[in-house]
């Protein structure tokens, strides 16, 4: 039972990380109509910047600032130099241009840091574990990720439902031309939204550092999983992105944790492990296929 709870928490932790990515993607797509493949690259930039500064200064706090700063700057520059030219283009051009950005950023990071994965120490403050329930000992760091993720979700909820920017985001996701017609400084709003999305991706990248290896290609791995989240949640819905993130996080974690064991009861150990690993890495995609069969527009999409 405690093992199960622990895995649930792991799933939740993965889920909120996905949400940080999915929220940014959804915001950017919702208000600007841009599909941004390079969102994963911003995540990577955040992770590397954080790692670098923590390694140099030993201060996790400075690392946070560096990661967020680098991600936001990357995002804003990306928006001003490339993305801005793509608003009126079709999805194909958007995909190809942002694919080009991935190639460029991945290569730049390889030149600067090499291909070896970097490892980030835990921040001392968040080291160690706490006993949440009798027998359930859980790392403080992972708990903090969950907490940060939920705080961000709450913050986004307030931003979208209580502020003028949020109103524009909501209006923009249903009717982009209307927002233009309202006489809003669209250019400023777009840069702002893009910067916010980049900030969230950078935060996710930074937090991933001490858990996962920081390496080239980390961005695309999480990006594709995030796409699954967005498809399941419904394109353009932040609420959908939140719930789908948690679902995907938990399902993926649970499958990896339990499927090989379950299979081992009906087949030979090594075969069970191989098959279990295979199916569990495919699990979220199969879930996506299922959702597509039942609700092609995603679980939380507003009706047309």
């Amino acid at each position: 039972m405690t093992l199960f709870l622990e895995q649930m928490l792991n799933g939740l932790q993965f889920g909120v990380m996905l949400f940080l990515m999915a929220a940014g993607l959804t915001l950017i797509f919702g208000i600007m109509g841009i599909i941004n493949l390079a969102h994963g690259s911003i995540y990577m930039v955040g992770a590397y910047a954080g790692t670098l500064v923590i390694g140099q200064t030993g201060s996790f706090l400075l690392g946070i600032l560096a990661a967020l700063g680098a991600a936001a700057v990357t995002g804003v520059v990306m928006e001003m130099v490339v993305i801005r030219r793509l608003y009126r283009r079709d999805h194909l051009d958007q995909v190809l241009a942002t694919f080009a950005i991935i190639l460029i950023l991945n290569q730049l990071v390889t030149i600067l840091f090499g291909r070896q994965p970097l490892f980030v120490p835990m921040p001392p403050l968040l080291e160690g574990s706490v006993e949440l329930l009798p027998g359930l000992v859980y790392p403080v760091y992972r708990l903090s990720i969950i907490l940060v993720g939920l705080l961000v979700a709450a913050g986004l909820y307030l931003l979208i439902n209580r502020t003028r920017i949020g109103m524009l985001v909501r209006a923009g996701s249903t009717n982009r031309d209307m927002v233009r017609a309202l006489g809003v400084d669209i250019r400023m709003l777009y840069t702002l939204v893009f910067g916010l999305g980049a900030l969230l991706a950078g935060l996710a990248g930074l937090m991933a550092g001490p858990i996962l290896a920081v390496q080239v290609g980390m961005g695309e791995q999480i990006l594709i999983t995030t796409f699954v989240v967005v498809v399941i949640g419904g394109v353009g819905s932040i609420r959908g992105a939140f719930f789908a993130s948690l679902i995907i996080g938990v399902v993926d974690t649970m499958l990896r944790a339990y499927l090989p064991g379950l299979l081992r009861q009906v087949m030979v150990g090594s075969e069970a492990d191989a098959l279990g690993a295979g199916i569990s890495s495919m699990g979220i995609y199969l879930l996506m296929a299922l959702v597509l069969l039942v609700r092609p527009k995603g679980l939380f999409a507003a009706d047309s």
Binding site: V95, N106, I224, V228, G278
Partner: protein, 328 residues
């Protein structure tokens, strides 16, 4: 109209003759590696032109076509492994090392997978379609990575290229000519398809799906058919590639491969018959030249791609035409 189409026919014939003469010329120049380069261009040209059928003609932006390319490769690899071990696949499908068996099998299996993935993905459109095709390709990537019986992560070595009765497939030039023949047949068929009734509705769908539905077209099944044909073409290319490399690996299904196929399409010009072949040539040559020059060739590739997308409309062909036009 008649004049330009006959001029085009002449151009195609000239290119065909040049391609046929290429291995001898390459040898005479002391550059036998050119033949291998040309083989890869032909194979990627088939794959890119297949993608172009849905992407350029049909307007469906599939970001997962490497899946069908990889499946084609794996069909050849898996059949070879069972041929070598003598154990039938699933206990009843005998292995094979005969190209005339494995390639049709690869096309068929890719088509089946394209039917399943297409049937699901085409329930959506636009940005969702892009994400979903990408995700399904990634799923198959993970599938082959976990397929330890067939090499898993490391891929599957095919000790000898498939045999064709009467041909020596150990000779790289022979493999080149086999690929050239396959490409020639493929492009003739594709040319007929895009100009047929089917091609007509496909191009109509790209322009306005709503209009096509309004004249009474059951849209979904035509899009699905195009997707399946396209997947089969990519499967053919994958099967040829596995024979050429004597290797099939999850890398063939990697998402960057899907991206590269798209890049080839846009480099050559979206929605043109031979554009993707030209795009494949530009891409492969660029890759070879840049990679020989620097280890960080992807940086250059990314920059060029960015330039092409942002500043040229209609790919390298259109750019070349415009440059020529300016000079005249």
């Amino acid at each position: 109209m008649n004049g330009s189409s006959s001029a085009r026919l002449v151009l195609v014939l000239v290119v065909l003759v040049a391609l046929a003469a290429l291995p001898s010329v390459a040898d005479a120049m002391g550059q036998p590696a050119l033949t291998s380069l040309a083989t890869r261009i032909l194979i990627y040209g088939i794959a890119a032109a297949s993608l172009n059928l849905v992407l350029g003609y049909g307007g469906m932006v599939s970001f997962g076509h490497a899946a069908f390319f990889g499946i084609g490769g794996y069909v050849v690899g898996i059949l070879y492994q069972h041929y070598a071990s003598g154990e039938p696949l699933f206990g009843f499908v005998p292995g094979s090392n005969q190209l005339l068996v494995t390639v049709p099998a690869a096309i068929l299996v890719s088509g089946v997978f394209a039917a399943i993935i297409g049937a699901l993905s085409l329930r959506t459109s636009g940005v969702q379609f892009i994400m979903i095709t990408l995700a399904f390709a990634q799923m198959l990537f993970f599938f082959f990575v976990s397929l330890k019986a067939y090499g898993g992560d490391d891929g599957l070595i095919i000790r000898r290229a498939n045999e064709v009765p009467g041909l020596n497939m150990r000779d790289k030039q022979t493999v080149y000519y086999v690929c050239l023949a396959a490409a020639a047949i493929f492009f003739v068929l594709l040319w007929r398809v895009v100009n047929s009734r089917f091609g007509n509705v496909l191009v109509g769908l790209r322009q306005s799906e709503r209009r096509m539905a309004a004249v009474g077209l059951p849209v979904y099944r035509y899009k699905l058919a195009a997707f399946v044909i396209s997947g089969m073409g990519a499967g053919l290319a994958g099967a040829l590639m596995a024979n050429f490399m004597r290797f099939a690996s999850p890398d063939m299904l990697h998402w960057t491969k899907s991206g590269e196929l798209m890049v080839m399409v846009i480099l050559g010009g979206v929605g043109t018959l031979f554009g993707p072949l030209a795009g494949a040539a530009v891409f492969i040559i660029l890759e070879t030249v840049l990679a020989a020059w620097t280890e960080y060739w992807q940086l250059g590739l990314g920059a060029i791609l960015l330039f092409v997308v942002l500043y040229t409309h209609g790919g390298v062909q259109a750019l070349a035409l415009r440059l020529v036009g300016r000079r005249v």
